[in-house]
Amino acid sequence: MSLLQKERDVITRNEYADTFDFAEIENFIANAPKELFITHHFKKRDRLLVQPRGGFPTYKKMFELYETFMGADIDVLPLTVDSNTRLNDYAMAQKMLRLSEENEMDMLNGYPLVNHGYRTTRKMITHFNKPVSLRHGTPDARLLVETALASGIFEIEGGPITYMLPYSKNFPLDKAFLYWKYVDKVCALYSKLNEPINRESFGPLTATLVPPCIVIVIQLIEMLLSLEEGVKSFSVSFSQNGSMMQDIVTSNVLKKLAREYADTFGSQDAIINLVYHQWMGAFPRNKELSDQLINTNTVIAAMVRADKIIIKTRDEAFGIPTMQCNAQSVANTKYTLRTLKGLPVMSDAEEEENLELEVRALMDAVMNDPADTLWRKVFNTIKSGLIDVPFSPHIINHNAVITIRDDQGNIRIIDKGKLPLPERCFAYEKSKVNLPESKTEVINKIIHDIGAML
């Protein structure tokens, strides 16, 4: 028995989880219908795939949610897990699942996948026969991902950085790298049986004034880490920046460099997809206006030529959306994508050059770290603040980078902390903003910029 398989046996032996029958699972995946694989749909690539978010505590309500989505001609079903599962607190998840089942009231903000187990969940997924994407935010997702793959969920979101820095306070970062290495290995293994499993990174991060250069660097790193383990299909992603131009520039640079780095690191055969997230920051507390924001994002997603769009709902500011509302969002988005035609190809040479320079400088800093493996290089870079995510709750993150919006809504870096940005780039960033004199005014401007869509 291989070392990995031993580890897998240990991981999956958990009092809250199903007992795993790996032979049966392999057999299931090898014979699973192509329809369940998002990679199969990406191959056709004839239109932007639409995916909402969504998870309810009970099996019954989750099933209803899927039924409702199917009525809206959905492309990709989501399975969003609750926040206890995200932090491996299966005991709390179990308690709240029971309460939800007994009281017809949702006591969890997602579907506790581990507690439900793969045998049960697989029934639902094969019933609907649509690709399902796992949305979580879990630093240690090993058991969760084993359960997901065994259930027929063949797209796994997350990564050691994007599911750590925004989602955890003090989970050890080095462990996260090793745990995600495990996830990638398992995905790569199963990818050999049928269509490849798709891995997706979570570009929005904290969704709070994160500058594009940091988003892109983290996307490239998580992509390289996955490809290193043998993953053959990977989606990089980002969310609306707040400036249409910055979205376009981000998309152009991200696409170009993702392909370039993948090739340079020997993964010419890997497929790279682009995912666009509708506005991930604070939504207006007005459903009509939220609808406008959502539709504007759909237009931009088409303009940046994404392969998949992950959508929001008019209930965003209020709480977990009802299923009807969520399905309506899917229908709305599909309508706009169907009728919106004649999209111009756009670029902004100056902005793109600047962003590319920034990303290359940060990537060089990572690669020049003396450590022996890529993940250790990255670990060191984050620890020393060379990569730094604004508004991360995590203790390891430096929180020294300060960003603000310019007149055109572009996120600009006004304090670069320890980011190894070329002088010229930093000067460019600063030249775009007129900073207020007093510190209080700067803080007020930042608060205002966080609420850009209110």
């Binding site: 206890n84 308690k95 903000n109 955890s168 003090n170 904290t206 709070t208 500011a317 709480g319 709750p393």
Partner: protein, 135 residues
Amino acid sequence: MKVVTGVVGNDIHVVANRLIDISLQARGFEVFNLGVNTSLEEFIDAVVETDADILLISSLNGEAEGWCRDLQFLRSEYNLREDVIFVIGGNLAVGEANQDDIIPKYRSYGFDLVFHQVDLNTGLDELERYVKERA
């Protein structure tokens, strides 16, 4: 006055928490910010340790109810000062809920002030008024 604050449960929404920190300091409070992902026990511990006057809990992701039902129990177990003010705010239910259902419920759990989907500054203004009235 001393305030212990933070975000309860497995909740990692940090943005409001950062702003609360800034606002409380600007209003002259002495702030002990435990940050996100903080259990109810940790909060009560910190109140005891710092001898705080106010415990101000945030919850955004819908977990609040699962955690806060035990407040009364912990309060007596830790033998807290009688006059500590208990405040909770943010988004206090999973899914859409209205204030009229939410406020009495959290009052019964032992909170003095409950702010469901209330703007930060509106809430802190009311807290200051409440503090003055009690003095």
